[in-house]
Amino acid sequence: MSELKDTIVGLLLKIAPEVDAAEIKPDVDLRDQLDIDSMDHLNFVIAMAKQFGLEIPEKDYPRLTTLDDCVAYVQSHRH
């Protein structure tokens, strides 16, 4: 679980290298707290898709709003 979270945080850090991993709050909108834009967010979603081998349809983007969301999303879509 925390390994998964760490992996996702790692992806975030690749997208937004200025971010301090320790400061990421798991339940707050990533775009708000990390000050990243839609392009960054898309890059992040792409990175998630690659990392976990997922097909993430556009309609699911809102389900990847917070770190917790992302963890839950990956868990529910990965076997």
Binding site: I15, A16, P17, E18, D20, R31, D32, D35, D37, S38, M39, D40, L42, N43, V45, I46, A49, E55, I56, P57, E58
Partner: protein, 374 residues
């Protein structure tokens, strides 16, 4: 033989710090090859060769700060005779104590800029770093309360300095006028959703790309918004290099997407993704920082409704997009909820008038009503 000078990487750049040379004497370079990394007060940039040749001599070592225009290397153009044997390469290793390295990171000081330290064998020590940081902060002491401590503090201040200088100059020199127009995005967004539905994630297009494309094409119709105001006259640009405002923690920068008007949506999408990524990682090229002919700022789908921006000199226009949101619009006499965006134009009245600006915004609106043509 020709001198390679410290380039100007922006109107606000007076001097640059050489972070590292990517070439050494004797290397052959082709136009566009990265020669060195330069730190301006804004960020670090790769500087490319402006012609093919062979590097003869490095004149300024890493860690030194020199004024724009100062020769920093000699590059023999292809065909020129060898002037003299190449000097020995510069030792690249930075001698710095472990503690100083940590403190430098904390204070946001680039230790490579400090030069020779006062420690054993010239090592940079913590005291050297702290002195460098203090020097950097000094001008701010009177002007503003100290910024929050943390990583990249000094970098942040450097960028703020640059933004302050450029924006002050803009507001001092440029007579802005502002226009706005609400644009129905329903057709464009529906079209885009259909387009994306059949595509794998890596090939999907984000809606801001449509806006950029519309701006780039609208410029064809009102070209006086695209170019520079220099020496008391408008120099219209034939190329459309779209400056895209990207908000970093340290401040906003607006690197260029070259020839955006010639790009397909897919190309534009790829270019934008690449630009954002590299901006975040500090690996932009110098030309990207200087070549924008018009700037677009998009505050995103979560931002405020409209933005009335300040033009980045010597450009003459800036296009802003607020948040995309549902609004009550009258379409064919009916009041309907439509996803829409408020597009704004800040333009230099010396270079254009409000009427032309209005045409430009209407062109954008029209283009977005027929996204398939983009």
């Amino acid at each position: 033989m020709s001198d390679f000078n410290m380039p100007s990487l922006g109107a606000d750049m007076d001097e640059g710090e050489i972070l590292a040379w990517k070439v050494k004497p004797g290397d052959s370079v082709r136009k566009g090859d990265v020669l060195l990394e330069v730190d301006t007060s804004k960020a670090a940039f790769d500087v490319e060769a402006d012609h093919d040749g062979v590097v003869e001599e490095i004149l300024v070592e890493p860690g030194r700060k020199v004024a724009v225009g100062t020769p920093i290397a000699r590059i023999r153009q292809t065909g020129e005779a060898l002037a003299k044997p190449a000097p020995k390469p510069v030792a690249p290793h930075l001698r710095i104590t472990p503690l100083a390295r940590v403190v430098a990171k904390d204070l946001g000081v680039d230790p490579a800029k400090i030069g020779r330290g006062t420690g054993i064998d010239g090592a940079i020590t913590r005291a050297d770093v702290e002195r460098a940081a203090a020097k950097h902060e000094e001008p701010h002491v009177e002007k503003a309360p100290p910024p929050p401590s943390g990583a990249d503090k000094s970098k942040r201040e450097g960028l703020r300095d640059a933004i302050a200088a450029a924006m002050s100059r803009s507001k001092r020199e440029i007579p802005h006028y502002y226009l706005s127009q609400t644009i129905d995005l329903e057709p464009a967004l529906n079209w885009l959703e259909k387009l994306n539905a059949g595509r794998p994630i890596t090939e999907r297009i984000l809606s801001p790309v449509l806006l950029l494309k519309a701006v780039a094409h609208a410029i064809w119709e009102v070209p006086e918004l695209n170019g520079y105001w220099t020496d008391g006259a408008l120099n219209q640009s034939e190329s459309v290099h779209l400056g895209v405002a990207i908000s970093l923690h340290s401040g906003v920068i607006a690197p260029a997407i070259h020839d955006a008007d010639d790009m397909s949506l897919e190309q534009l999408m790829a270019a934008l993704a690449d630009l954002v990524q590299r901006a975040r990682h500090g690996t932009l090229k110098a030309s990207e920082m200087t070549d924008s002919t018009i700037t677009v700022t998009n505050l995103g789908d979560r931002g405020p409704e409209a933005v009335y921006g300040v033009i980045y000199p010597p450009q003459v226009a800036l296009v802003g997009f607020g948040a995309v949101m549902s609004r009550a619009l009258v379409i064919d006499g009916q009041l309907v909820a439509r996803r829409s965006v408020i597009a704004t134009l800040s333009a230099d009245h010396r270079a254009s008038d409000g009427h032309r600006g209005g045409l430009f915004l209407r062109a954008i609106a029209r283009l977005l009503e027929h996204p398939e043509s983009l």
